[in-house]
């Protein structure tokens, strides 16, 4: 794989200073604690006034994981601090669909293996096409296996790249990551949430019966992450019974999160919470 050849090509100074100049657009992979962290771009050129996709690529050692925007019961989300040329502006990470991690009474949400955290990068309107720029970032992340280690990495990305050989592979990371990221609820679908005392009842109307579903809460303090989620197929979708967090003492107005129906079918949900259902209809 490209990443492997890159790893060995990094000179010692790059490790000492945390990054190397003049690499490929997709380069700057470097070894941190149990992970290789690099910056990559979807395209090897930038257009004035447009949004370009760049991202932090984590290549995690087997058995180790990092966290989603809501880490769940323990852990902490990765944080990116950018150093950008004037006028460039990094937006929020577009978090790919996480997986459930852990066993028993402590459940976390995060990623294993190779994960790309894409970030929309606003290119200034006065950017001159083709002008070389260097995008750099300090990345702080908690990486855990049986134990957790707070780690730091610094990575840089030159655009246009000196050597564009990895461009196709990087583009593929973005494509597969977007495919595995939550999508807005399709037109015609409907999500409803009611507060049933100890549970949120989430009904998703997709038009067809769905037998599998899992809910990932976006907020950290609303849902009991470890509690089993009740899943009931309905004629036009699926119903999920999600236990509230014991620490949630007040009613919430909106329940936000991601519903995963099957791999690649994850959807963003933000539904007003209606009061407890009283009586039977």
């Amino acid at each position: 794989m490209l990443l492997h050849s890159r790893r060995f090509s990094i000179p010692l100074v790059a490790l000492l200073f945390g990054f190397t100049f003049g690499g490929m657009a997709a380069a700057q992979s470097f070894t941190a604690a149990h992970a290789k962290v690099s910056l990559i771009a979807e395209n090897n050129s930038l257009q004035p006034g447009q949004t370009a996709w760049v991202g932090v690529l984590f290549d995690l050692e087997k058995g180790w994981h990092i966290y989603w925007v809501n880490p769940g019961d323990s852990g902490e989300r990765p944080k990116i601090q950018w150093q950008l040329p004037p006028g460039f502006q990094a937006k929020e990470i577009r978090w790919p669909t996480p997986v459930r991690l852990g066993t028993g009474t402590v459940i976390d949400y995060g990623y294993e293996g190779r994960v790309l955290l894409p970030v929309p990068m606003q290119v200034p309107a006065d950017y001159k096409s083709g002008k070389p720029v260097m995008l750099s970032a300090d990345i702080r992340y908690l990486i855990c296996r049986e134990v957790c280690i707070p780690a730091k990495a610094q990575a840089s990305l030159a655009i246009p790249p000196a050597n564009a050989s990895s461009f196709a592979a990087d583009r593929e990371f973005f494509r597969s990551t977007f495919e595995n990221s939550p999508k807005p609820l399709p037109a015609g679908w409907k999500a409803q949430v009611s507060d049933n005392g100890g549970f949120f009842q989430l009904s998703l109307d997709t038009g067809t019966s769905e037998s599998k579903a899992g809910f990932f809460p976006l907020e950290e303090d609303q849902v009991d992450n470890a509690a089993p989620q009740g899943v009931t197929a309905t004629a036009r979708g699926v119903q999920l019974k999600v236990k509230k967090s014991d620490q949630l003492l007040k009613p919430i107005a909106v329940l936000k999160g991601v519903v995963v129906l099957s791999p690649g079918r994850a959807y963003e949900v933000a539904a007003q919470v209606t009061g407890p259902v009283t009586g039977k209809k």
Partner: protein, 207 residues
């Protein structure tokens, strides 16, 4: 999901898992009694402290979030401040044998001296029984129990869920706030928060 149901059987050493989704302690409700040996061999019972405020602090000295509060001296000064005011502070270690943070009584006692810690006692809970009874998820996680035996606080030590020591000084400490309010006879204004940190290293947990 399915995974947590079965894992409950794996950790069946804790009797609490026999109950479906064990009813853990909840704020506003009675804090469940327990009986656990401390590092001096004394059996600590919550009911023995009826009439006093009791703090339960889950700890794992290998966890970087716990280290933030001990390396900065924050935890020790909280322990000292509140035990001097007559509050019972019980540190709880629920790490299973072989997992991060597991300690023997002798080892822990010399460590406490070394770091100048000042809890009333340190409870050793290698089976995770007490941890599951309170559904402690992280280290550090803190519970505050009123003299009447009601749970009045459950959550994080403060509002900065990081491993950065510099955040200690910038944080709003929920435990100090809860204790200050509760000991003054006031309602606790932030009775719950999301506990942050490392997962408690229970038996059978894989991280």
């Amino acid at each position: 999901m399915k995974r947590s149901a079965t894992s409950c059987m794996i950790v069946a050493a804790a009797v609490f898992c026999a109950l479906p989704m064990a009813r853990a302690a909840r704020v506003g409700e009675r804090a469940p009694d327990f009986s656990v040996a401390d590092t001096n061999g004394k059996v600590e019972k919550l009911s023995d402290y009826a009439g006093k405020f009791v703090v339960l602090e889950w700890s794992n000295r290998g966890c970087p979030y716990t280290q933030k509060h001990y390396n900065s001296g924050n935890m020790q000064s909280l322990q000292r401040e509140w035990t001097q005011k007559g509050i019972i502070w019980l540190t709880v270690i629920s790490s299973a044998p072989g997992k991060q943070g597991y300690v023997t009584a002798a080892d822990e006692n010399s460590w406490l001296k070394q770091i100048n810690a000042a809890p009333t006692a340190v409870l050793l809970d290698p089976t995770g029984t007490l941890g599951h009874l309170y559904d402690a998820k992280t280290t550090p996680q803190i519970f505050v129990i009123s003299p009447q035996g009601t749970l009045v606080y459950d959550g994080a030590i403060d509002d900065k869920p990081t491993t950065d020591r510099a955040d200690v000084g910038r944080a709003k400490n929920y435990v100090s706030q809860a204790l200050a309010e509760a000991t003054a006879g006031k309602a606790v204004s932030t009775p719950t928060s999301r506990p942050y940190g490392c997962s408690v290293k229970y038996p059978g947990s894989w991280f």
